[in-house]
């Protein structure tokens, strides 16, 4: 029998997920013996035409990372969906929108304005902005159209499985891939390569009393590496975030930022964390409560850093 055909592709992403796969190192070689990699633009030379040439459903499983932020992302997503039996949203961007979906706090014009006008290093007196089409002597050039709102993969095509992580950690990646090689596969829609419990469950730090008297930012202190960061006033998304990452950030004495996404029963990762955090504010009077609430830096960016596109509100008010 022939090896299963697998494909990797990236949409709007930083490329970290690609690195996460390369991180498999020698395992990658063993993998190559078990599967045929039929499409992987980031690592090997493929053209979209190769992909278009493939018959529908001919790929066993495609790992797609990155959010959907422009017409090209969407086009390829649809193409890969057609060509693949199984489509996996690989990495937090594809799953929840990730960092790119913070762009949902503005829109195309806003992004253009800041990138092509406002940044101090930009000098653009002619006010030149990207055009989807431009006529040159050789003919018409086109580039993809940037969207106003960043979407998750499953907001444009049907997705079978999700793998969280920014990026997914090494051993989880190999587990997930081998799962597709050896099976058995969980029911459709499952989140793979992550725990169903929050990071607190695997956190080694000690907890004493759940209360927050003061919000402290990471640059303001060197936290006690043994004690719960929340109790030291550092906003740690751990309580509202899936474990499974091996709590690498916490081991580096840095707080969890929430990249593994919401817990199975949580309606909205940001909302849940906001409630958990404010519930344990150590303040009774309205003034004190106001002070603490005001001292939380950038609530939207803090609580929805990785999940804005998959949140209840999805973007700021248009």
């Amino acid at each position: 029998m022939t090896n299963p055909k697998i494909a990797f592709n990236w949409a709007s992403s930083c490329g970290g997920c690609e690195i996460a796969i390369l991180e498999l190192g020698t395992k990658l070689v063993d993998l190559a013996n078990k599967v045929d990699i039929v499409f992987w633009p980031a690592a090997l030379d493929y053209k979209y035409s190769d992909l278009e040439a493939m018959p529908d459903g001919s790929i066993n499983v495609t790992f797609m990372n990155g959010a959907i932020q422009n017409s090209e992302n969407e086009h390829i997503a649809k193409l890969l969906r057609a060509k693949s039996k199984l489509l996996v949203a690989f990495g937090t961007c594809a799953y929840l929108g990730g960092i790119p979906s913070l762009a949902n706090t503005t829109d195309r014009d806003g992004i253009f304005a800041s990138s092509y006008m406002e940044t101090p290093t930009t000098d653009n007196p002619e006010k030149t902005f990207p055009q989807t089409k431009v006529q040159v002597r050789e003919g018409e050039l086109t580039i993809p159209e940037l969207y106003n709102t960043v979407k998750t993969l499953d907001q444009v095509v049907d997705v079978d499985y999700y793998v969280p992580g920014c990026p997914p950690v090494g051993e989880q990646v190999s587990k997930v891939i081998s799962l597709f090689v050896d099976g058995p596969l969980p029911p459709k829609g499952a989140v793979l390569g992550a725990s169903d419990k929050s990071l607190c469950h695997e956190c080694k730090r000690t907890r004493t009393e759940r209360k927050i008297t003061k919000i402290v930012r990471t640059y303001e202190t060197i936290p006690d590496s043994q004690k719960c960061l929340l109790e030291q006033g550092i906003i740690c998304m751990g309580p509202a975030t899936r474990g499974g990452c091996g709590s690498i950030c916490l081991d580096a004495n840095a707080p969890c930022r929430g990249c593994y996404g919401p817990l199975p029963k949580a309606i909205d990762q940001g909302g849940k964390m906001l409630s958990a955090l404010s519930s344990i504010f150590d303040a009774q009077s309205e003034e004190d409560i106001q002070k603490l609430a005001d001292s939380v830096p950038d609530p939207l960016g803090t609580f929805y850093r990785f999940s804005l596109a998959r949140s209840l509100l999805r973007r700021t008010k248009p």
Partner: protein, 651 residues
């Protein structure tokens, strides 16, 4: 997949008058899982309840929604009928389409639309309800009575006579309360202390009553049937058992203090007995006014007691904390007087000869400052012209008390009559708004006074009182003749209103019992449950709940005692099972929830996962809102149900 039935009540025209019942029924019938929908004129009536019962059987429903009045009214009734018809009582939901629809919206179309949404909400919720069994808890068969006035005394005696242990907590040095300060009582004019005294003694002697004087409730934990109460008792410095009230200590005491029992019209010593009939019949040392205990400054009382008395004084006594366990609490904290100095138009506090009715009451009393003679505070002369101002600072929503204290018409009539008896040549004027003399023999009594010679009732209010060469000029209006009147009076008596005890707010928050807008304890229902606070297990008696006269107070006290006895009659009681619980496989043990519980019902178990104690949880849901993993849920008010209801509203 449930089979839901919807029952819509007309409530006569209360709902049907403003809501299109037919439309509500039709729309309800179209909702998912609804297999039967019907309306009835009065669902709470016997035929109405039978209709529900029969329909449940016929259409073998396993959940019902009753669209009627507020759940505060008949939720229990409808849940019970559901249960009697073989349903689990928690598969019954109430949709409030009266108080919050038909009664508050003018446009019938809109009221109907809202009623429909309300019913839809109920359907969505009941579809996801799970059958529950009540939580059974034991009952501590003892009662705490707070406040030793006539209400507390009556209630304590009734419970004690019913055979149960009573703790009677009184903040002052004696029981008796306001009634002990009264001279006579209307309408029969019998001497107040003569009828109160024996009851006080009965309390003192009763084997089932433990009297804690100089005591205050410090902390209340637990819930109906199982309250844990901390009571702080200040030391009397006098051994009740030994003291024979000889009074030698007071003779010896050098410290003079204004006597609060006479509203400062007389003096007492720092060691004293509030009044002759005080119970317990023992002296009290008031540490605040003693020349000094720590370090001991004087000690004359102790010397005197050791010399002539029973050497029962211990100046090194300490406060005591009593930890009581009771099943029911009766609140009888009584009333105080509205601060007359706030009524600047009458000049109380500025002019010595303007006094309150209670001060006048003391003056009438044979045990009072003037041993019953009427004299002007300013110069001790007998007043010839006296003005009584009723409703002083009452029925004045803008600036003072919005309500009527109910008893002033009666005692003012009595005061005026007593004045006439004591000063036959005197002339009394009574300014009133209208006479409220509802009660047995009351109207007749007021009539008698009004017919007295030298006693003039003027219907109208007093605008201002001011002093002019030795007289109090009272300017008012007589609305019957339509003329303004001016009276040059020697004495002015203000019938100031009753206000709840100044400590009732603090006590209420300890008891978690709510107060009304005027600071009186609120009852569970103004008509049907006037003896109970909305907080289960807490009963109300006397003027702490609303202004009352003595007969009413006594009646309510006996009623509250009856309620308490009813509660104690069974060794166990059932509690609502709609409480929090943890879905173990979802909990990560982040323990955000643990410190949030006001009842310490949350803890981490052996596997370091959150756990709820069913006996302690009251089901407030604060922990649920904080749970970042959705592992905590409130039985029958889960997030899924909340979302379903939200969608029913916005769709």
């Amino acid at each position: 997949m449930k089979r839901v039935g919807v029952f819509v009540c007309h409530c006569g025209l209360n709902i049907a008058g403003n809501v299109n019942i037919k439309e509500v029924v039709e729309k309800a019938g179209k909702q998912q899982d609804v297999v039967f929908a019907v309306d009835h004129k009065y669902l709470c009536s016997e035929p109405g309840q039978t209709l529900i019962k029969d329909s449940i059987r016929q259409h073998n429903l396993d959940a019902i929604v009753v669209a009627a009045c507020s759940p505060a009214m008949h939720e229990a009734t409808f849940k019970t009928i559901a249960q009697l018809s073989g349903l689990n009582r928690y598969n019954c939901e109430i949709a409030n389409i009266r108080e919050q629809s038909s009664w508050v919206h003018d446009d019938p179309g809109k009221a109907t639309a809202k009623a429909h949404i309300t019913v839809h909400q109920g359907i969505e919720k009941v579809r996801l309800n799970e059958p529950l069994q009540p939580v059974t808890v034991p009952v501590t068969r003892k009662v705490l009575v707070i406040g030793g006035g006539i209400a507390g005394i009556r209630a304590a005696l009734d419970v004690a006579n019913g055979g149960y242990q009573v703790y009677l907590v009184e903040k002052s040095g004696t029981i008796g309360g306001r009634m002990a300060q009264l001279s006579e009582t209307f309408p029969t004019l019998d001497c107040s202390t003569c009828i109160l005294g024996p009851l006080m003694v009965e309390v003192f002697r009763h084997p089932n009553i433990k009297l804690l004087r100089l005591s205050k409730v410090e902390e209340v934990k637990g819930y109906i049937g199982n309250f844990k109460v901390k009571v702080r008792q200040e030391p009397a410095y006098v051994d009740e058992a030994k003291c024979n009230a000889c009074g030698e200590c007071a003779k010896a005491c050098p410290a003079q203090v204004p006597n609060e029992f006479d509203f400062g019209l007389t003096w007492r010593k720092a060691i004293y007995t509030p009044f002759a009939q005080a119970v317990p019949p023992a002296y009290v040392l008031d540490a605040k006014n003693c020349l000094g205990l720590l370090p001991q400054a004087c000690g004359e009382c102790k010397k005197a007691c050791d010399k002539f008395g029973t050497s029962c004084i211990d100046l090194d006594a300490w406060p005591r904390i009593h930890e009581l366990e009771v099943g029911a609490i009766i609140v009888s904290t009584g009333y105080e007087l509205y601060d007359a100095a706030k009524l600047t138009e009458y000049g109380y506090g500025t002019f010595p000869d303007v006094m309150t009715s209670m001060e006048f009451e003391r003056m009438l009393s044979a045990s009072g400052p003037t041993t019953g003679e009427i004299k002007r505070p300013s110069d001790g002369q007998t007043p010839k012209e006296i003005v009584f101002i009723q409703c002083a600072g009452q029925r004045e929503p803008e600036t003072a008390l919005p309500y009527c204290s109910k008893i002033c018409c009666m005692y003012t009539a009595r005061h005026a009559m007593m004045f006439r008896h004591k000063v036959p040549e005197g002339q009394a004027y009574v300014f009133y708004m209208d006479i409220r003399a509802g009660g047995k023999g009351y109207e007749e009594f007021v009539k008698r006074c009004q017919e007295e010679k030298g006693l003039l009732y003027l219907r109208g209010r007093v605008a201002k009182v001011y002093e002019e060469n030795g007289k109090l000029i009272v300017k008012g209006v007589d609305t019957l003749s339509g003329k303004t009147v001016q009276i040059n009076a020697d004495l002015v008596v203000l019938a100031v209103g009753m206000v709840p005890s100044s400590e009732s707010h603090e006590l209420a928050s300890k008891l978690k019992a709510s107060l009304d807008a005027n600071g009186f304890f609120s009852e569970a229902h103004p008509k049907l449950r006037p003896l109970e606070s909305p907080t289960a297990g807490i009963f109300l008696a006397g003027a702490g709940q609303s202004p009352k006269d003595i007969p009413e107070t006594v009646a309510q006290a006996s009623g509250a005692a009856g309620k308490a006895l009813g509660l104690l009659s069974s060794p166990t009681l059932e509690r609502e099972p709609t409480i929090a619980h943890v879905v173990g496989e979802l909990c990560s043990g982040c323990s955000i929830c643990v410190p949030l519980c006001p009842y310490d019902a949350l803890s981490l178990n052996a596997e370091k996962l959150a756990e709820v104690s069913e006996a302690l949880c009251e089901g407030c849901g604060t922990c649920i809102a904080s749970c970042p993993s959705g592992a905590l849920t409130l039985r029958n008010l889960t997030d899924e149900q909340m979302v379903a209801m939200i969608e029913a509203i916005v769709e």
